[in-house]
């Protein structure tokens, strides 16, 4: 198959509960891949395994030809995988700009000594700081966050907070972006904007997107491939049309008559 991003035989248990059960899938470079499934199906556990927050019990996760399962989250970030969280994990007392600057962390070189001696505009740390702030400014422009730039994130409305989190992940310049329910809690207008932004991120920035999403309209319109899981197992994988037509998915989403 392809060797961009593959998950093979992934299993993760919590006590006696099998959250993910021998899951396999593969994503092509540059595609949007959506994961759907009822609550408790193991979607977020899967994301936590990929981003290194949980260590899988068995199975392999390969990214661009390298094993990444069992690595620490910061090492996985350095491999070029960024993520957002279902229940916002923002730095609430920092401004939007500062939140996004954390996304630049792995691209910056300022160490403790540079930091302590940042006495003037031309010091190493200050020059690097300005350079990366300019890059972050582009992301702020892209996501229309100018008015939130110097506002502590905790003071922003929910929809904007979600955007800041998206922007923060983008600032990392990832090859693979994991979005955990990006449209949850958004108004339909905000969801519409988000739809186009995700398309832009894929097409103009060339970022591959792995997404958990409950809004079926959005999943159907945006995805290249869809994976449906339940009880940690694969129900079906295929194009949006194939998955939507699958009896198990219809049963799970529309109910039996």
């Amino acid at each position: 198959m392809n060797d961009f991003f593959t998950v093979t035989g992934l299993t993760r248990t919590f006590g006696g509960v099998v959250a993910i059960d021998a899951l396999d899938f593969a994503q092509k470079k540059g595609s949007i891949f959506s994961i759907i499934g009822p609550n408790g199906a193991g979607k977020t556990t899967l994301f936590n395994c990929i981003s290194g927050i949980y260590r899988p019990d068995s199975g392999e996760i390969c990214f661009q030809g390298r094993r990444i399962d069992g690595l620490k989250p910061d090492a996985i970030a350095r491999h070029g995988i960024a993520r957002t969280f279902q229940n916002l994990e923002l730095f609430f007392r920092m401004t939007t700009m500062e939140n996004l600057m954390l996304g630049r962390h792995i691209h910056m070189r300022t160490n403790i000594w540079h930091g302590l001696t940042m006495f003037h505009k031309n010091s190493t740390a200050a020059r690097e700081e300005a350079e990366h702030r300019e890059k972050v400014e582009h992301i702020i422009d892209l996501l229309d966050l100018q008015s939130a730039r110097d506002v502590p994130v905790g003071a922003l409305p929910y929809g904007r907070q979600k955007l800041v989190e998206l922007g923060r992940a983008l600032a990392l310049e990832p090859s693979l972006l994991l979005l955990d329910e990006p449209s949850a809690g958004m108004t339909s207008d905000e969801r519409q904007d988000l739809f186009f932004w995700i398309k832009d991120i894929q097409q103009e920035l060339g970022v591959s997107i792995l997404m958990i999403e409950h809004n079926m309209q959005m999943v159907m319109d945006i995805s290249d491939r869809v994976l449906a899981i339940d009880f940690g197992k694969k129900l079906v994988e295929g194009t949006p049309e194939e998955v939507a037509a699958h009896p198990e998915v219809i049963k799970a989403y529309l109910g039996e008559d």
Partner: protein
């Protein structure tokens, strides 16, 4: 509003010309101070400045990184003893000994930071408390460190001049304090400081953005200990004589009080807290000799409590102060300062 023309203006220390103006006034004040005050007052100012250094360091750990330390007196002790021993045994000059002592303390900070990676909240508090006590116990039992009797601190020489008076020492101490305050301000507005704040706000998010938690947490401990170590070296100089009982548990608690009262996560908070709490501490020490209140307290103490308990009044008052600040003003004096500033911004409307 002023237009920004360069991204550095986002983070520069003096955002407006008026800030530079006030800073220059402050510097002039610091220069004039020894010319207009008595030697005793200078010794007080020196002690305050040294405590400000410790508070700056402890605030990095507590206020910025969101960790806790109840053992900072241990680092101060390590810095004090290292400075004296390096001067005595290796014949180093004062400044190299002071810097090296800072690094020795930082080394211990790094080591304490390692087990701290697995501990949080109250468990970390207990571990650091144990560290602080262990340091003074070990020092007190070793003849190399002078045991319970302590060590005499050699006179310091800078460029052939022996510094002895408090006014001469003031020049050295206040320069180091101003430099270290600026260095800390620099650190906290740089990539490293941002990573530390991120750990405080959400360690999971920080980790998934590539911040190595183990490295940055231990680094925070090390830098914090470095500040305490340098302060310890200076403390040894102004005391002229050090013994383990100086660096007791109460000292660690006072440092924490300085951070909380001043304002966690703010450089200005460290400075304000260091000044106010040290001043209160020194004044309360001599509470019985104060006019009016002294007699009243002695009266209360002899009538309803024990006479020997009166010095504990200091601890009681600090306890009350800490509770009041945590409950009513979690941002400390810095928070109060921010609100005053906001009020005057639109004055008189």
């Amino acid at each position: 509003m002023d237009m920004k023309r360069h991204y550095y203006e986002d983070i520069q220390i003096f955002q407006k010309p008026v800030h530079v103006f006030w800073f220059v006034i402050l510097l002039i004040g610091l220069v004039i101070l020894p010319l207009v005050t008595r030697n005793y007052t200078m010794s007080l100012v020196n002690f305050i400045a040294i405590n400000v250094i410790v508070t700056l360091g402890l605030n990095l750990l507590v206020g910025y990184t969101g960790q806790i330390s109840l053992g900072h007196a241990g680092f101060v002790a390590i810095g004090a003893y290292a400075t004296v021993l390096l001067m005595q045994h290796l014949g180093l000059n004062f400044f190299p000994a002071l810097v090296l002592a800072g690094f020795v303390a930082a080394g211990f900070g790094f080591l304490l930071g390692l087990p701290a990676l697995r501990l949080e909240g109250p468990y970390l508090a207990i571990a650091t408390l144990g560290f602080g006590m262990a340091v003074t116990q070990i020092i007190g039992r070793s003849t190399f460190f002078g045991g319970r009797m302590g060590l005499k601190v050699p006179k310091i020489n800078i460029a052939g001049i022996t510094l002895s008076s408090d006014k001469e020492l003031y020049i050295v101490i206040i320069s180091i304090t101003v430099l270290m305050a600026f260095a800390m301000r620099n650190l906290t507005r740089s990539r490293v400081g941002r990573a530390l704040i991120a750990i405080r706000e959400s360690d999971i998010a920080a980790e998934t953005l590539g911040v190595n938690l183990a490295w940055y947490k231990t680094l925070s401990f090390a830098v914090s200990a470095f500040y305490a170590g340098v302060a310890g070296g200076l403390l040894a100089i102004i005391f002229g004589y050090i013994n383990p009982s100086i660096f007791d548990f109460v000292m660690s608690i006072l440092f924490l009080a300085m951070v909380v009262v001043g304002g966690a996560g703010a450089i200005l908070g460290s400075i304000l807290g260091g000044i106010v709490v040290t001043f209160l501490d020194l004044k309360l020490n001599a509470v019985t000799s104060m006019p009016l209140i002294g007699d009243l307290l002695r009266e209360i103490s002899t009538r309803w409590m024990s006479v020997s308990g009166l010095p504990n009044f200091r601890s009681v008052l600090f306890g009350i102060l800490l509770i009041l600040f945590v409950v009513f003003e979690p941002h400390g004096l810095y928070g109060i300062w921010l609100r005053i500033k906001k009020y005057w911004k639109t004055w008189p409307f």
